[in-house]
């Protein structure tokens, strides 16, 4: 074989190729097509506006804005009972009409959004604060301990949230805080499970092994490696749990367990509007639509955030 020309070896600096990651396809084709993008090049893929993110974000922002605005202005004072104006249909004065107590529906909805947001955020916050560390812990301790923790988690999961809320209400009295905490506790197990399974796969990766080889302690690994890599799972779970929390609050209010009678909440509006369903359906429809929209918005936002933050890797084995 003729002598190959002496080609200079590695030494000249390699410029990083800011392009698509090496494997293409989300596992849809059997071969790993190395270097072949499934969609337009990786850089472009990130910047393409994520529909979910935009729409979800818009809805969530709208709800938040309405809630904030309601602190300074509502078309009418929803607290005032005005028997004379009860059950009016939409008009210039009362945009969506009034309920059986003469309260303006729009104002009720606006103020009600505060409750919804509050309950959703606090409940999810509580669940995350407890569930995420629990999940990570269960993944990093020796297997038996982890299983034990998860069985405890299962117990909590099996416990009906509603029953929990009722119990807490019986102890602490009715109130929105009780409702939030009850829903929060009931949401812990889903976070713990999801985070644990995500953390387990992170713990199996070579980069965690490399971190151990570098001398990282378990706490360092949990914070620096596990947490960021389960973040996308947490975000998705948070949006799902938020939606569930909103619905749970509605259910509790409907049962008379959530926000006290004086506080407007979408759930309570659903309950109150139920009897008048055939007389004034809008009293039921509008709060229902608001709940549905809020849930949709948070779900979409969660999806969008997850995709947005996912480091442009198609599939991680």
């Amino acid at each position: 074989m003729s002598e190959p020309t002496a080609v200079p070896s590695a030494g000249p600096p390699d410029l990083p190729t800011a392009g698509p990651a090496r494997t293409g396809g989300a596992g849809s084709t059997p071969t790993r097509l190395r270097g072949i993008p499934e969609a337009p090049a990786g850089g472009r893929r990130r910047r393409r506006p994520a529909g979910a993110l935009l729409v979800g974000g818009a809805i969530v922002v709208a709800v938040v804005v309405i809630a904030l605005v309601s602190f300074v202005w509502t078309p009418h004072d929803p607290g005032i009972v005005n028997a004379a104006d009860r059950l009016q249909t939409s008009s210039w004065r009362y945009w969506l009409g009034t309920d059986r107590f003469g309260r303006d529906v729009v104002s009720l909805l606006m103020v009600g959004s505060r409750t919804t947001l509050l309950v959703g955020i606090v409940a999810v916050g509580v669940a995350m604060l407890v569930g995420v560390p629990l999940g990570i812990l269960a993944a990093m301790v020796p297997r038996w301990w982890g299983e034990l923790l998860m069985r405890g988690n299962d117990l909590l999961l099996a416990f009906p949230a509603l029953l929990l809320a009722i119990m807490l209400t019986a102890v602490h009295g009715q109130g929105i805080v009780t409702a939030m905490i009850a829903i929060g506790i009931a949401s812990i197990p889903s976070f713990a499970r999801v985070v644990r399974s995500g953390a387990l796969s992170v713990m199996k990766t070579e980069y965690v092994l490399a971190a151990r080889a570098a001398g990282r302690r378990p706490v360092g690994i949990a914070l620096r490696h596990v947490l960021p890599n389960v973040a996308s799972l947490v975000i998705v779970q948070a949006s799902v749990s938020f939606a569930i929390a909103v619905l749970a609050e509605a259910a509790l209010s409907y049962l008379g367990l959530g926000a006290p009678p004086g506080t407007p909440s979408w759930g309570r509006m659903l309950q109150e509007g139920q009897e008048l369903l055939f007389v004034a359906p809008r009293l039921e429809v509008f709060p229902g639509v608001c709940i549905a929209l809020a849930v949709l918005g948070f779900n979409l936002l969660g999806d969008g955030l997850r995709d947005h933050f996912d480091p442009r890797l198609e599939d991680r084995r």
């Binding site: 074989m1 070896s9 590695a10 030494g11 000249p12 600096p13 390699d14 410029l15 990083p16 190729t17 800011a18 392009g19 990651a21 090496r22 494997t23 990786g42 990766t205 070579e206 980069y207 092994l209 490399a210 971190a211 151990r212 080889a213 570098a214 001398g215 990282r216 302690r217 360092g220 620096r224 490696h225 960021p228 890599n229 973040a231 480091p311 442009r312 890797l313 991680r316 084995r317």
Partner: protein
């Protein structure tokens, strides 16, 4: 208690049915090496308990390592060759202190590490670093390159960000990358470049020992040549001890001066790489050498049929009772220590 590496070959062979060529004269030993091994592994076993498959019988045990012993001298380039499941990765992890052996002793620079708790292994982390096989999986996708490379420094207490960043840039250049790579994420690099980043990370704490687990197996051929050259250059320049694990005998032959051949949890043959390659004594080593397709031989007319025939012939030879090696497998296990006995029983 420094034991020199000149334990007799017979003594080692007694230990594990090993064919050991005398390692004293192998080239590549650092000039002036005291002769005391920097890595000393004695009779290491590792058992894993699998999940129970039946309520009545106890959980099956996997004998990943069955009494492995080896010595690596300072400055040596020691290769470990074996196919999947032979235990080489398990052995690496035990040597690197990432796993504990079920029994046996592992001494790094004279210090016994096999029973040390994680918090006492700090010295090891500074002296011994690893490069892994998978360029994708061994770098945290959520961290920037500079954080990845600086991780050993941070984890070992060097918190000065400025100094760390300078070191990161220095390391990037020495592995052939631009310093501005520091701000990017791993996915923006190709496989070969990611391996360079891996190497840079391994060199960050200025270790004496570099352990590489199949570092080029996942790379393209031309990239492999570059990375192998890089490793060779760095090992030379920084006077490192290299332990190189691979399933590819030709890669190990190029890189290393000593090699140990592993099969099913045991070292079956050890010695200078040329000797093991040109005149493999153990039947398994013969199989390995026979089965590897070589370009020159192929061009000279060695076909796939020849490859298969030679592999089978070497395998049949291993089925014959081994009269040359006097020992039996060290632990009574259900599976034989040698490759399968009948030609029909194909993998």
């Amino acid at each position: 208690m420094t034991e020199s590496a000149s334990e007799s070959a017979a003594e080692r062979a007694r230990g594990a049915g090993v064919i050991a060529h005398d390692a004293q004269e192998s080239p590549g030993d650092a000039a002036g090496a005291a002769g005391s091994p920097i890595i000393r592994v004695r009779d290491v076993t590792r058992e894993f308990r699998r999940a129970r498959t039946s309520l009545l019988r106890p959980a099956p045990v996997v004998h990943a390592l069955r009494g492995v012993s080896l010595d690596v001298l300072p400055g040596q380039r020691f290769g470990i060759v074996g196919e999947s499941g032979c235990g080489k990765s398990t052995l690496l992890r035990i040597v690197a202190g990432l796993d504990r052996p079920t029994s046996g002793s592992v001494k790094i620079e004279g210090q016994e590490i096999s029973q040390l708790p994680e918090r006492r292994l700090g010295f090891l982390r500074a002296q011994l670093q690893l490069v892994f096989q998978d360029p994708r999986g061994s770098l945290d996708p959520r961290m920037r390159v500079r954080e990845i490379i600086a991780e050993p420094l941070v984890a070992q207490g060097h918190r000065n960000r400025r100094a760390n960043l300078e070191r990161v840039h220095e390391l990037l250049v020495s592995v052939g990358l631009q310093p501005d790579a520091a701000d990017r994420y791993p996915h923006q690099f190709s496989g070969g470049q990611r391996q360079r980043i891996s190497i840079a990370r391994a060199l960050a704490p200025d270790p004496r020992i570099l352990v590489a687990d199949e570092p080029v197996s996942a790379l393209d051929v031309s990239v492999r040549a570059q990375v192998l050259n890089l490793v060779a250059e760095l090992v030379d320049r920084l006077n490192l001890t290299l332990v190189f694990v691979s399933h590819d005998l030709s890669v190990v032959r190029h890189v290393c001066d000593q090699v140990a051949v592993m099969s099913r949890g045991e070292i079956v043959e050890q010695g200078p790489v040329e000797q093991v390659y040109d005149a493999p004594a153990h039947p398994y080593s013969r199989q390995l050498v026979a089965a590897a397709p070589r370009l020159r031989a192929a061009l000279a007319g060695r076909t796939a049929a020849d490859l298969a025939a030679e592999t089978l012939a070497a395998r049949k030879a291993s089925a014959a009772p081994r009269s040359s090696v006097s020992t039996t497998p060290t632990s009574p296990t259900t599976s034989p220590a040698t490759p399968t006995s009948t030609p029909q029983d194909l993998p």
